[in-house]
Symmetry: C2
Subunit: 425 residues, 2 copies
């Protein structure tokens, strides 16, 4: 008997859940990802802020799927999708045919056409991004300590985070904790409490998806932790020296980008309508127009909710979409028999600093310490793998009680990028 | 009152212990290291073999020494020592004066004049080395899985470790565990149990510092785990394609170097006699000839034991030397009043594979599972930091019971270095 071949592109929340739903069935399932690991992205900012190690939030895709004999995992980068020939082209020249295709390629940053800003304001999507940002943050304090005068040191002690969505809010809170608590007794010349952290958001409120009163609470928490929140302000320039927010220049070595998303370039090869962010406008069954055997899910898709508005780019959306399309494939349902996808909203949350969070569940909102405990509990619960849960709990308990952070490592030499030399005698 | 200035070069076992002994005294102590962290090197092979994360075995030097107000930590690379002017020159042009100097700069690999081998056979001294080796090992299996035929895949499934000292033995055992246990159910086309692991040692026995019967036992354990041990064999060439052991060519993508050590180049600027490995021939008080205010300790020193033979390059030697020279400095003892350094040998151990170890304490030798348990216990005990102990215990228990490894991450793309493309249809 010939098995029906299903190819899944991407091992994020959508891809992994689609694969699991098709595990140990009579389908020949191939999952292709450019890395070897599934990343628990909601905790990525904790790697960037030196609290967790990469291994704590990433699990090999092969390991997650090892018990399903019908699933083959392949590490490879995708060049394009040839929907006419029903083939995937990999960058190394390989071609892989499919009968069903699930595209779950996620999103990357968008600099709104200002790609030259990327060099100075890295974004946070992959483990490599997180390690780069971690090193920049830690190195900044080292450089400041070696400066001649406190005015020289200033630009190393200024942090600007562009974008006030959940990632921006979480990074701002984490950097505040590093500067005002973790590093407190570590330096002899600089006073790390002089660190200034700016969070810049073009919208009139941070956390645009949240109701205004909840966003105001989150802003109050951030300000309590020492973060300067600038809402309704647009960034007009980013350079090696710093950030220009409308007409004000903020000198800063450390600028983080958390402002915009853009779907994968590969989606263009599907030759179907895309939205402004480059996401595929899928139908109610998450398939693309004209090709009911191709589904697009997660951050790569612009899927309509029951009011016709696009669903947000959140992990639970991708998880549910992955399971839904896998069920359609299992049953080999023709287009007209497919029930429309319904997203079951289990609520959203964001942490703010060390011990606060905000969240909402339908119309119910909650905030403060209790919300933060709930956030910790939920994120531990959804983390894949028993070992990861245990080590993350250990790290969190340790950080909570000691204000220390477990992964404060700089691997490159400070001499690579030097502050002005200073005389010590 | 003017404090006496002590400069310590290097934040390894020797430097950190010297600094601690001088902590909260009336000395102005400066510790300079090129990284920001103290590394627990005995467990470095576990990072290279994907069991532990870098953060588990490294702690910021600033953090370790934060409670000592008289100690300043500086991240910087050393250019040379000017013993005439009593100054350290940093690579950025800074000069730092001293009244006492403790040189604890450790060692790096030596390729015995064949530096061109380094590219193909990386050594294991730093966290960056460990991450590179980890990536090479994991990537090899990925590449093998993508090969056309099993004969193409062979070179990706051959591992050669050059040097049968403790590091070589530990790496060989760890790779055997990865290939024969961890990866067992993860691949669909290759059979990871076909992996061949060679350990090549020029000496007539592995673990040259151990008695022959104990070394024979370690070899037996390794062979039981599937490692091919070649003793009395010299490596004559290392290239991109593999390793030539005398007249036999072994095709291999993964070659690890664990054969030789060489002290830091900076020591040459001291202008005193060095031994063959570039270590400073120190006196009985660990100071250098003609300059009683300069001490050299740890792997940078060739210190005589009570029989006049040089002490081995082990962590406990460096720890005891660091404390000893710090005591001499605290008491400001003149040369003639200094008691000679006495190393208290607490024994040495090496793990072999997942559950075996060999060790000796004076004339007593021990081996097997009990020795392995003792090894685990001692290494946990000496690990700096409560958090690190907890997470390492968690990872070890997890690895022991599941044969899984917690940090199996590849960060670069497989397309960078491609095996021949294969057709899948």
């Amino acid at each position: 008997m010939q098995y029906t071949k299903v190819v899944i592109l991407g091992g994020g929340f959508g891809g992994i859940n689609a694969a699991k739903t098709l595990g140990n069935t009579k389908f020949d399932v191939w999952l292709i990802d450019k890395t070897n690991h599934h990343l628990f992205q909601p905790l990525l900012y904790q790697v960037a802020s030196a609290c967790l190690s990469p291994g704590d939030i990433a699990v090999p895709i092969r390991e997650i799927l090892s018990r399903y004999q019908n699933i083959t995992v392949l590490m490879g980068s995708i060049e394009k999708i040839d929907k006419g020939a029903k083939e995937i082209h990999l960058k190394n020249g390989d071609r892989i045919g499919y009968e069903y295709l699930i595209v779950a390629l996620g999103a990357k940053h968008s600099y709104f056409g200002k790609d030259e800003w990327e060099e100075f304001a890295p974004g946070l999507k992959t483990l490599v991004d997180a390690l780069k940002i971690r090193e920049r943050i830690l190195m900044s304090f080292e450089k400041a300590e070696r400066c001649d005068s406190i005015s020289d040191a200033k630009k190393y002690l200024n942090f600007v985070i562009i974008g006030g969505g959940p990632t921006g809010v979480e990074m701002a809170g984490a950097i505040a904790e590093i500067a005002y608590e973790t590093m407190l007794k570590n330096f002899r010349r600089i006073d790390t409490t002089k660190t200034k952290i700016y969070l810049v958001e073009a919208h009139t409120q941070i956390l645009a998806a949240y109701p205004p009163n909840l966003a105001a609470k989150a802003q109050k928490y951030l300000e309590h932790y020492g973060v300067k929140v600038l809402t309704g302000k647009r960034v007009t320039d980013v350079s090696k020296e710093g950030v220009t927010v409308e007409n004000t220049f903020i000198p800063a070595e450390n600028v983080l980008w958390a402002a915009g998303n853009q779907a994968s370039e590969v989606l263009k090869s599907l030759d179907v309508p895309l939205d402004k962010q480059g996401r595929v406008m899928v139908g109610k069954d998450l398939s693309i127009p004209g090709n009911p055997e191709i589904f697009v899910i997660g951050d790569a898709a612009s899927a309509p909710d029951k009011n016709g508005k696009p669903l947000p780019g959140l992990a639970p959306v991708a998880v549910q979409e992955g399971r839904y399309v896998a069920q359609i494939i299992r049953k080999k349902l023709p287009l007209e028999e497919r029930p429309p996808f319904r997203y079951l909203d289990k609520g959203t949350m964001a942490t703010v600093g060390k011990t606060k969070a905000v969240g909402m569940f339908g119309k119910i909102t909650f905030s403060g310490f209790i919300a933060w405990l709930a956030w910790c509990f939920i994120h531990i619960l959804y983390l894949i793998g028993f070992r990861n849960r245990l080590t993350v709990i250990t790290q969190w308990l340790f950080s909570y009680f000691s204000s220390q952070r477990g992964a404060r490592l700089i691997n490159r030499s400070i001499e690579g990028d030097l502050p002005p030399p200073k005389k010590h005698e």
